[in-house]
Symmetry: C2
Subunit: 427 residues, 2 copies
């Protein structure tokens, strides 16, 4: 494909997406297809000869659209949202087209530096304490991950390695095998309201995740956490990391950070805060009360790709001491060394699980600039108002009862039992 | 930003990228900036008010371009390549614009089904045995990961959990804590020529990676592997996974799969094949000899995002028994259940580390269709010819000596010592 065809194809695709997003409201949200539907529509092998891009666009309508769940329909209410915006789409395309891989500063300085800067911007926008920012003295800083799953896993692994390294410093005579064996004693903690990805991080990191029963407000209380930690200590186990949630998956509840931080600090445990969904609301000062105590955490994560108009994937993680990431994640090879690696800019390969990385900061930069802070705040507030409006409608309808009132963009409610028979099963 | 502005902005961005890629040959590959350069060019905080997209495009030239390493310049020779193509760029944009999250079949059927189909197409293109394909009987199938790093780590974690599950089946009386303790005995193996991401997978999975000294052909021989395994067994350790490499990072050497498979099979060890770069060449039948014995492997991975014109990230992983992924990776919650989950299509959330996932198959589909198999084969052959042409030039120049001759797109060579003083340091 030559540049001229790309100009035509790319512009046709821009129109295709604009037409789609302008009309998505009229589509049936959940597609009406059976598993395996697409095999009947596509050939069994890739074509031998090149096909015209116009044929591919036609097949978007014929084979893809009928099986698409329309996440960006205003009628889509499953799951928490995933973000989409016109500047985000263009930013993603720009990143793909420049096609740089930013694993070290030298491998593409602009990629690393824009990420450092936009994560400082974003950290300031949500009121993060300066210890988490690159522009402050110290070792804090932000980095983009693919998902909150990866951010949680990364922090768990770093906490695990930090424990082993500290143990080795205290007991230099321990062999590698003895140090390994001690890992089998590590345990992690989170609310039983936390996302599935938190439990999965425990499985992947081979550190059992204790799911602490939440209290009547669906929060993990400091006292319940402490009881679990003390029980494990009695068994000779070693508490390694606590994951607090701001905006739990079932009810958007917030764990009390300061209370949890006090426990973590007492026992020397890494405190990670997962605000995957709710974090975006922190750009509005009136929601920052949920973050009270964040200055005591070791790491904080939220997903601009959920509720801040940046297309998936864009998960922002900040840590107070990036040296701990580097100590746990760094694997050096001659081909990864460069002359500027001690010049104050991160080599992000050591701040994440994979080696390769896209230029994700571009789409974040596009969104922050083209909306500006005020429009993003308006967007969050309008979404929260939709939730309170919806709660009002529910309260005026005696078929329903509220389970938890509107918080952020979520209201949980149920149909009263006596009305069940009037509804078909919603699959 | 409304749809009309998006149409203008998006089309301007298409032209921006076309202009960039048409002229990238003339740019200096490595930028001439110092660490921290961008802080002087951008404000310290995100803008309060919205900015016009034209300003953002201007800043692409002012702040981004001066710090970009031009990976797609024909003069770029650091690292293995990362792919870029016009159809791939449009596919990435289309995926961003549709903005679906395909963690289960139901969450967006088209996303899962196109991935199943394109990975069958791709598997057939590279001559993978049918056991790895979804369209064959059995439990084989392909899935897209973000990187070879993630694919290797995933297989290591699945092999680790498989070991523990089998042990538990044999010894049902073992407690959870006893089972955990046995993980501290697991070991993994790869060539000392393998990529840094392989060693990192061992660190992250807490399974030490033995880096087996390669032989004089830079290959991990079956006998060296066997010696390492037997030494570990004597120490009471448990071999868990072997990672073979096709196309090692230093010299693009290929480990002898059949020889290694025989050892793995004898000791019941998971055999993963990392062909991150070289795998793309398998679309040309003349290169398939390197894959001899692949039918005995448990998993195979290569990166269309390296050398097959699909933009990063697009790493293809095939397994013979996907049930093992699901058994190790699955964490269930009420909100992830759907009515079609036993209907023969995968829920890809259980085939990967994170929960969320983009519609990555679109860009792969665009590339396969718009190039077709023949043009992709021509592309690979033309790249290999560049390497042999370059080797001829080196052989005709007595300042250089060949270290390893052209294989795939790589020639390794050195400047003879007596000519050193005529060259400035290449940083």
């Amino acid at each position: 494909m030559d540049a001229q065809s790309f100009r035509e194809f790319g512009k046709a695709a821009i129109d295709y997406l604009a037409d789609y997003l302008e009309n998505v409201r009229d589509k049936q949200v959940l597609p009406n297809v059976e598993p395996g539907y697409m095999r009947k529509l596509l050939p069994e092998e890739a074509p031998e000869e090149p096909e015209d891009w116009r044929e591919v666009l036609k097949d978007m309508d014929r084979a893809i659209m009928p099986g698409l769940t329309h996440w960006h329909s205003p009628h889509f209410h499953a799951f928490y949202p995933t973000a989409n915006s016109y500047p985000g789409i263009v930013g993603e395309m720009m990143s793909a087209g420049l096609g740089t891989i930013g694993f070290t500063w030298m491998s593409s300085p602009a990629s690393t530096e824009l990420e450092v800067i936009t994560l400082d911007w974003l950290g300031k926008m949500i009121g993060l304490p300066p210890q988490f920012l690159s522009c402050s003295p110290g070792y804090g800083g932000g980095v983009l991950q693919g998902s909150a799953s990866e951010a949680t896993l990364l922090c768990l692994l770093v906490a695990r390695e930090r424990y082993v390294q500290r143990l080795h410093e205290k007991n230099p005579s321990l062999t590698e095998q003895e140090l390994r064996a001690t890992k089998a004693k590590l345990v992690a903690y989170a609310s039983d309201q936390s996302n599935s990805s938190v439990e999965k991080a425990g499985i992947l990191g081979s550190v059992p995740m204790r799911l602490i029963p939440a209290d009547e407000k669906f929060q993990m209380s400091g006292s319940n956490l402490r009881a679990a930690i003390e029980a494990d200590l009695k068994e000779g186990l070693v508490p390694c990391i606590v994951i607090s949630t701001l905006g739990t998956t079932p009810t958007c509840a917030n764990d009390p950070l300061r209370e949890i931080a006090a426990v973590c600090s007492e026992f020397g445990i890494w405190h990670h805060v997962d605000a995957a969904y709710s974090g975006a609301a922190l750009i509005c000062p009136e929601y920052r009360y949920i973050c009270e105590g964040i200055e005591l955490a070791d790491s904080f994560n939220f997903n601009p790709h959920k509720w801040m108009l940046v297309n998936f994937d864009c998960s922002a993680l900040w840590v107070k001491d990036s040296r701990e990431l580097v100590a746990a994640m760094s694997v050096d090879r001659a081909y990864l060394v460069h002359t500027q690696q001690d010049a104050g800019m991160p080599d992000y390969r050591n701040w994440q699980i994979p080696l390769g990385r896209r230029f994700r900061a571009l789409k974040l930069w596009f969104v922050l600039r083209i909306y500006g802070v005020k429009k993003l705040q308006e967007y969050i507030r309008a979404q929260c108002k939709l939730a309170t409006d919806f709660e009002m409608l529910l309260r005026g309808d005696d078929r329903f009862e509220i389970f938890t009132p509107a918080h952020m963009g979520l209201v949980t409610f149920r149909l009263k039992v006596k009305h069940m028979q009037n509804f078909n099963r919603l699959s």
